[in-house]
């Protein structure tokens, strides 16, 4: 089904965007390195491919006149998600360019900012590229070489977004979100909350209170018993 494919592609793009942002966060800090720059380049290329694929699929779906109304609404919703994702990707790429220019890696006089990070971003990049291990094949001064490519790609993305705006007429604000506020707490495995976020807060709080109250009662009971025993001992002796 076309919708499932679109959703899968969009999920993939979403994942790559999240990874890209995570990596751009480290540029200029102590976990920056040539490897990071190369990872950025690879992730960016992957993102570009996915974006193009997404765009083609979604424009085809939206231009199709035979879709039903609910399907059309669904495609519009996916379109809004896609365009927002692309906006964020573009901003991150621009930031990456700016930071890359400011923090070149091989200069002895320019030091990286000591941000407290010591590990690398290999895991993140692997997640983005959906591979087990990343191979680092680039030249040692990729940080400078890559910047020109980055500039060109930013232009390309900008043009793509402009084309999208012109060709597809989907007003963003008419789309209604399917998720409620607090929905992020529902399906994460580490949350453990059964209902919406804020209701679970009260439940947990009351549970904590009851257990605390119980502990306090037990402790005071033990104290009283100890006092009574001490008094008895004193009296008897």
């Amino acid at each position: 089904m076309a919708k499932e494919e679109c959703k899968a592609l969009l999920d993939a793009l979403n994942r790559v965007t999240a990874c890209y942002r995570h990596m751009v966060l480290s540029v200029g800090g102590t976990s920056d390195s040539q490897n990071l720059r190369e990872e950025l380049k690879q992730t960016r290329q992957k993102a570009h491919e996915l974006a193009v694929a997404n765009r083609n699929k979604l424009t085809a779906a939206l231009k199709d006149k035979d879709v039903s109304k609910e399907d059309k609404a669904e495609y519009e919703r996916l379109w809004v998600i896609f365009s927002t994702c692309l906006e964020i990707l573009e901003t991150d790429m621009k930031r990456a360019l700016e930071l890359g220019l400011e923090f070149p890696l091989n200069m002895p006089k320019k030091h990286l900012i000591q941000t407290g990070m010591s590990g690398g971003t290999t895991g993140v990049a692997a997640r983005a590229m959906s591979v087990q291990n990343i191979k680092y094949e680039a030249e040692p001064n990729i940080d400078e070489v890559d910047l020109k490519d980055l500039e060109q790609e930013i232009h390309k993305v900008g043009e793509m977004m402009y084309e999208m705006e012109m060709k597809v007429n989907v007003p963003q604000w008419t789309v209604e979100a399917k998720q409620d506020p607090g929905a992020e707490l529902k399906s994460t495995t580490s949350a453990g909350a059964s209902s919406g976020g804020f209701v679970s807060v009260e439940e947990r709080k009351s549970v904590c209170d009851i257990s605390k109250l119980l502990a306090a009662i037990v402790f005071s009971a033990v104290l009283i018993i100890a006092v009574i025993l001490a008094v008895c001992v004193v009296k008897l002796s």
Binding site: T17, R21, H22, L25, G29, I81, I88
Partner: protein, 484 residues
């Protein structure tokens, strides 16, 4: 440094962030920079922490400045988010002691003036925090969350998707890095979406349309404009400051006794004693005005004209002198100036018919030149078309009738009748005493009464032409009788 933005808006009060950035970069030097320690968090050691004292000493030494200035600069560095405190994240001040630790912020999270911190990003951050803290957010964060949910509802699906992905991605890094990343992001949003009660350091005031620091090149048209401006300024009549200051002193001396704040007011200040007698006694058209008020009319003509009761009394006097139409004309002109724009044309025509046309019912006596200007202006009537005539009449009344009015029996009678209210005894208002609350008459009713009074006036005015014609007929009759 000013930054050009779309729409040519200049924001000259923005912070020059490049300067702090240069300083922060210098702090990174392993030899000449700040001494680093590691922070112990439970079982892990996170490197690159500094004490507040170290930062302060480094700044003072590097820039050759004193302790206070270094403290101030250090505060800026923390407030703008280049360095964040580790133990007390909300307190964005540099504490110069050896126990408070700070760390540098990653360059992605440095404040920039090109991109503002987006709502979408903030929403993603809040969603991530929600996941991490399992729903326990601070009050202001919860409010922001629900507000953003309404504001960018169309992007909400994306925000949730992205938040989940970013949360999962964070798990790919080692634990110490994850902790540091959390602290960084939290510090970033504390600066860019500050909690209630904290100052928003990135606030730079209003956007301005022109750049006040711009040095304009002297073009010929600019200089021509300047010359014209100065020529007009020279033509203005100026008054010596000694003269104007003397005028102010005289005015203050004369009016000081009438000022309720300077010399108190009788019977009592209503705002203080809750006694509204003062307002009742000084109502617009009260029957018997207070002595202060009547004495005030003698100060100058504008005081008399400004007071409605004074105007009424003056009108009465003018009628006796057969020059009542002057004040009538003046009032009609005021009505034209301050009335409805839509009625300007018809009002101007009416005034012309009533006061200015040759053979009009209440013809006023103005000189030929002014009459010419007025008649010409009435072809295209606007609010101020009768200004010249009004000024002429005003001057006439001021120089001629006013002096006679002050000597007239009407004024003297008014002065004698005027009451001097007694000061009310200071009654301490008991908290349980019921106060008599009377509402003042509604302004709508007051206006209706005024209009009725005006209509009656208009009906009762003496037609100067009829009087003249009557006198003429009488004289004709007299002339006719003798020949008999």
């Amino acid at each position: 440094m000013t930054i050009r933005h779309q729409g040519q808006q200049y924001r000259p009060r923005m912070a020059f962030l490049r300067k702090i950035e240069a300083l922060v970069k210098e702090m990174q030097n392993p030899e000449t920079g700040i001494r680093m320690q590691s922070q112990r968090v439970m079982i892990t050691n996170i490197p690159h922490a500094m004490t507040g004292n170290d930062i302060l000493q480094w700044i003072a030494q590097r820039l050759w400045i004193g302790h206070m200035e270094a403290q101030n600069l250090g505060n800026f560095v923390v407030k703008y988010g280049y360095v964040y405190p580790l133990q007390d994240p909300k307190n964005l001040n540099l504490k110069p002691d050896n126990s408070s630790l700070y760390r540098f912020q990653t360059p992605y999270f440095w404040p920039t003036q090109q991109w503002s911190a987006e709502d979408t990003d903030y929403a993603i951050y809040l969603a991530k925090r929600n996941i991490k803290k399992k729903g326990i957010l601070e009050e202001y964060e919860k409010e922001n969350y629900s507000f953003l949910n309404k504001k960018i509802n169309h992007k909400w699906d994306f925000i949730i998707m992205q938040a989940k992905e970013q949360y999962k991605t964070g798990k790919e890094r080692k634990k110490a890095d994850r902790y540091a990343l959390d602290c960084q992001e939290k510090a970033y949003w504390l600066v860019h979406r500050c909690p209630p009660g904290a100052d928003n350091i990135l606030d730079y005031g209003l956007n301005r349309v022109t750049n006040p620091n711009e040095v304009k090149k002297d073009t010929i048209s600019l200089i021509r404009k300047e010359i014209m401006y100065y020529q007009q300024a020279l033509m203005r009549s100026t008054v010596k400051s000694s003269v104007s200051l003397g005028g102010i002193v005289k005015y203050s001396e004369q009016f000081s006794s009438n000022d309720p704040i300077m010399s108190g007011c009788l019977p009592s200040n209503p705002w203080i004693t809750d006694d509204t007698q003062f307002w009742e006694l000084n109502a617009k058209l009260v029957d018997i005005p207070t002595k202060m008020r009547v004495e005030r009319w003698a100060f100058n003509f504008s005081e008399l004209i400004r007071d409605p009761k004074g105007r009424q009394s003056f009108q009465f006097f003018l009628k006796k002198e057969f020059s009542g139409e002057n004040l009538g004309f003046w009032e009609a002109c005021e009505d034209l100036k301050y009335g409805d724009q839509s009625k300007v044309k018809e009002k101007a025509q009416e005034i012309y018919k009533l006061f200015l046309a040759p053979g009009a019912r209440r013809w006023i006596n103005i000189d030929g030149k002014t009459m010419d200007i007025t008649v010409k202006g009435l072809k295209h009537p606007h609010r101020y078309v009768l200004d010249a005539a009004q000024t002429h009449i005003y001057m006439l009344m001021k120089k001629d009738s006013y002096a006679r009015y002050l000597k007239s029996p009407i004024y003297k009678e008014m002065l004698a009748k005027a009451i001097e209210p007694r000061e009310t005894s200071k009654r301490s208002s008991l908290p349980f005493m019921r106060r008599h609350l009377r509402s003042s008459p509604s302004p709508v009713i007051l206006r209706q009464l005024e209009e009725e009074a005006k209509a009656r006036e208009a009906a009762n005015t003496v037609d100067i032409t009829q009087v003249m014609s009557k006198l003429d007929r009488r004289s004709q009759l007299k002339k006719e009788i003798p020949p008999k």
